[in-house]
């Protein structure tokens, strides 16, 4: 039983956070929002230099051979930075799915390019009405319950949609799927689709935890500096207690997230409960953080000029993806009340009812 991250994991996350502190500094995000500044391709190049796209691919194809538990801190940091690139979808969902389906030649070829970062893969999933980041992708991985397709950007007929988060491009595939793009069918396909869902829900949860962290940090730094009625607003209990409440939510979402990361791919009742719990806890925390950060900033928080809205809007988008609040709450209830999932003090990491 060891509930800590290794030094390697922490160093990797630390290096990534340093990179995003630079790539996604408020001024950079603001420039990106307004279509100025560094290009997405340039940012992607720098993520590639850290080897991030291939973290979860086997070493045999040039990846790092790591697991979701290794990637969870990266996803959290991507959220904290409001990273515009869909690194999480690419490295956390598409690459593991392609790795699992690498018996297919087309899949194997794109996997190689995806690991190096040369290919950028967006993900279409039946639970998501929209594909995120397709405009900068080279490929779209289309998951359905019966087949998995891998489309080049040219093969995918995409219809763009507009998120309130201008850094988040949305699209739908409008064309019908052709046999030639299919890379898996039947049980393999449906397992990949199910796996992608758990990864997607877990990793967007991690991003939301990161967004919550960023929102609290913004509010704290404003409250420590802004004065009203002769003292710093952060010295008022009304402000302190609101922010403390957000922090409590965040601190108790994180262990849930990390525990779910160790078992999300097992696809058991408990793993599904854990992933849904993580998504609910992290999105709840981010929701409260967004509203609280606006309130702490007063009218400033409601303006475009302050950075709060970048994070609030991203959280809003991520909350609805990979299963919205209703989906995950119903899934939790189904496990509890219909599947009679074992709970209680000896069932957290496994069940020991059989012990003498």
């Amino acid at each position: 039983m060891d509930f800590t991250f290794t030094e390697e994991q922490q160093m990797m996350a630390g290096a990534f956070r340093e990179l995003t502190d630079d790539l996604c500094a408020p001024a950079a995000l603001r420039a990106a929002f307004e279509g100025r500044g560094e290009s997405s391709a340039a940012r992607w190049q720098r993520l590639t230099e850290l080897g991030l796209p291939g973290m979860l691919a086997p070493e045999s194809v040039g990846g790092m051979g790591l697991t979701l538990a290794d990637f969870i801190l990266i996803a959290e940091a991507a959220g904290r930075a409001a990273l515009p690139e869909t690194l999480v979808e690419h490295a956390g969902i598409a690459v593991p799915v392609l790795s699992a389906l690498s018996a297919d030649a087309r899949g194997a070829a794109v996997l190689q390019a995806a690991v190096s970062g040369e290919a950028r893969v967006a993900v279409s999933h039946p639970f998501n009405p929209f594909i995120v980041g397709a405009d900068q992708a080279t490929h779209v991985l289309v998951l359905t319950d019966h087949e998995v397709h891998l489309l080049s950007k040219d093969e995918a007929k995409l219809e763009g949609h507009q998120s309130i988060d201008a850094l988040r491009s949305l699209a739908r595939c409008t064309g019908s799927l052709q046999p030639g793009t299919c890379i898996a069918r039947g049980a393999g396909a449906s397992a990949a689709t199910a796996l992608a869902f758990e990864c997607g829900a877990l990793l967007t949860a991690a991003e939301c935890a990161g967004l919550c962290d960023a929102l609290v940090a913004l509010a704290v730094s404003y409250a420590a500096e802004r004065s009203q009625f002769g003292k710093k607003i952060g010295a008022y209990q009304a402000i302190k207690h609101q922010l403390a409440n957000v922090q409590v939510k965040l601190e108790f979402a994180r262990p849930v997230l990390y525990a779910a990361a160790t078992q999300a791919t097992v696809l058991s009742g408990r793993s599904r409960f854990g992933v849904s719990h993580a998504k609910l806890a992290a999105t709840d925390a981010a929701d409260l953080a967004g509203r609280t950060a606006v309130q702490v900033h007063g009218a400033m928080g409601y303006s475009w000029e302050v950075d709060v809205h970048f994070y609030l809007k991203r959280a809003l988008g991520l909350t609805g993806m990979w299963g919205d609040r209703s989906f995950h709450m119903r899934r939790v209830q189904q496990q509890l009340f219909s599947e009679h999932l074992a709970i209680g003090p000896d069932a957290l990491f496994g069940v020991f009812k059989e012990l003498p």
Binding site: H161, Q228, L316, G320, S326, M329
Partner: protein, 388 residues
């Protein structure tokens, strides 16, 4: 008769009249947002249409373009207004805030000069209260007005001024006594936004439209005829204006009842897949909207009987602003992955603009005195707890 919750025949006839007029006049298509230039112009037109039908501000006396209507009639008017999905009031700073203030504190000439054009929708007013260092703490403001002969020279920087980007006039308070502190030495002025030395710069709100503005006053010379009340009386008058803002007029319960009704329809479309808690949350939204309406009727009858609005303005402020956030959070939860779509996207379900409404609702607990300040007021003035 007490607790007689029935409309009189006159009130019923009045409702029918409003309803018929709205059916005939409300634009079939919703107007573009009044935070944009084109939308602002169209909302200005709508104010003129309202005024032409004598519906601009029915509770005003007839001499200023009103109908001398009772508060109950006002509530009925608002119910029908929101029921008809009529446009937002671009004129609200004038008719709800400055208008009543002028009636109480203005000279005969000022009333004659300003009120009819306000009622007619010909002059749209902006607030110029806040300053960069003075948000909730209005008494911390620094803009000055220096008397020179029969004129004043205004200097300073106002911010968070709603409507100012496209409005005609603004009102605000300035420090006339440079030696004064806090609430003393302040004076209330009315200033045209196209006056020499006045510079307006839009501030984009979260959704990207310039719903706020900054106003810079650079040696702006105004005649004393544009001073409202006496020198040094600014704080008293501003507090009266703020009282009107928190009072009965500005947050009609009908707005929330309409939103709650739409929420019920939205819930019904998603009931099969929604978190079971949402059914109760939606029911709570309906109940809270009705509670707010009932409370408003109770306050209205009390005011008609000669009462004054006091700390209940603070109770109202907290209740409606939290209700508005609640309604829109429920809606976004029901919309799931569709919640994030920007207004106007082709995949937006219906035309209910829930996302814009949610963003807008986040301003509720902040403006017109943050809810934290309202809670202080309730605790100190209503409950009698000691000051901090």
């Amino acid at each position: 008769m007490a607790l007689d919750l029935h409309y009189t025949p006159d009130e019923l006839r009045f409702r029918a009249e409003v309803r018929a007029w709205m059916v005939a006049h409300v634009p079939a298509q919703p107007l573009p947002t009044l935070e944009g230039e084109q939308g602002f112009a169209l909302h200005r037109e709508w104010e003129k249409t309202l005024a032409a039908g004598s519906w601009g501000m029915i509770t005003w006396p007839r001499e200023y373009g009103g109908r001398g209507a009772s508060l109950i009639e006002w509530l009925i008017f608002e119910e029908e207004y929101y029921r008809a999905n009529a446009p937002l009031r671009v004129n609200q700073n004038g008719i709800f805030l400055l208008g009543p203030t002028l009636m109480e504190f203005g000279s005969a000439q000022q009333k004659a000069r300003f009120l009819p054009k306000m009622a007619a929708g010909e002059e749209i007013w902006a607030q110029a209260w806040s300053e960069p260092q003075a948000g909730s703490d209005l008494a911390a403001l620094r803009s000055t007005a220096t008397r020179e002969g029969d004129e004043y020279v205004l200097r300073g920087h106002k911010i968070w001024s709603s409507r100012a980007t496209f409005a005609d006039w603004c009102f605000g308070i300035f420090r006339t006594d440079p030696a004064s502190e806090r609430h003393k030495g302040l004076t209330f002025f009315l200033v045209p936004l196209n006056h020499p030395g006045v510079r307006v710069r839009g501030i984009r709100q979260m959704h990207g439209e310039p719903g706020f503005a900054e106003i810079f006053f650079e040696d702006v010379r105004v005649p004393s005829a544009w001073r409202l009340g006496a020198e040094g009386e600014g704080w008293t008058i501003a507090m009266a204006t703020a009282g009107f803002e928190r009072g009965l007029m500005l947050r009609s319960p009908a707005r929330f009842q309409v939103a709650a009704e739409r929420l019920v329809r939205l819930y019904e479309q998603h009931a099969a897949t929604a978190d079971p808690a949402l059914s109760s949350a939606v029911a709570q939204a309906v109940m809270d909207a009705e509670a707010y309406a009932l409370s408003t009727y109770a306050t209205a009858t009390r005011l008609i009987a000669g009462g004054k609005i006091g700390v209940e303005a603070s109770l109202n402020k907290i209740f409606w602003s939290e209700l508005d956030v609640h309604i829109h959070r429920c809606a976004l939860s029901l919309l799931g992955a569709f919640a994030e779509l920007a207004a106007g996207d082709s995949a937006v379900v219906g035309h209910d603009a829930w996302l814009d409404g949610f963003i807008f609702s986040l301003a509720g607990p902040i403006y017109a005195g943050t809810n934290e300040i309202q809670r202080n007021i309730i605790a100190e003035r209503l409950l009698g707890l000691p000051r901090g």
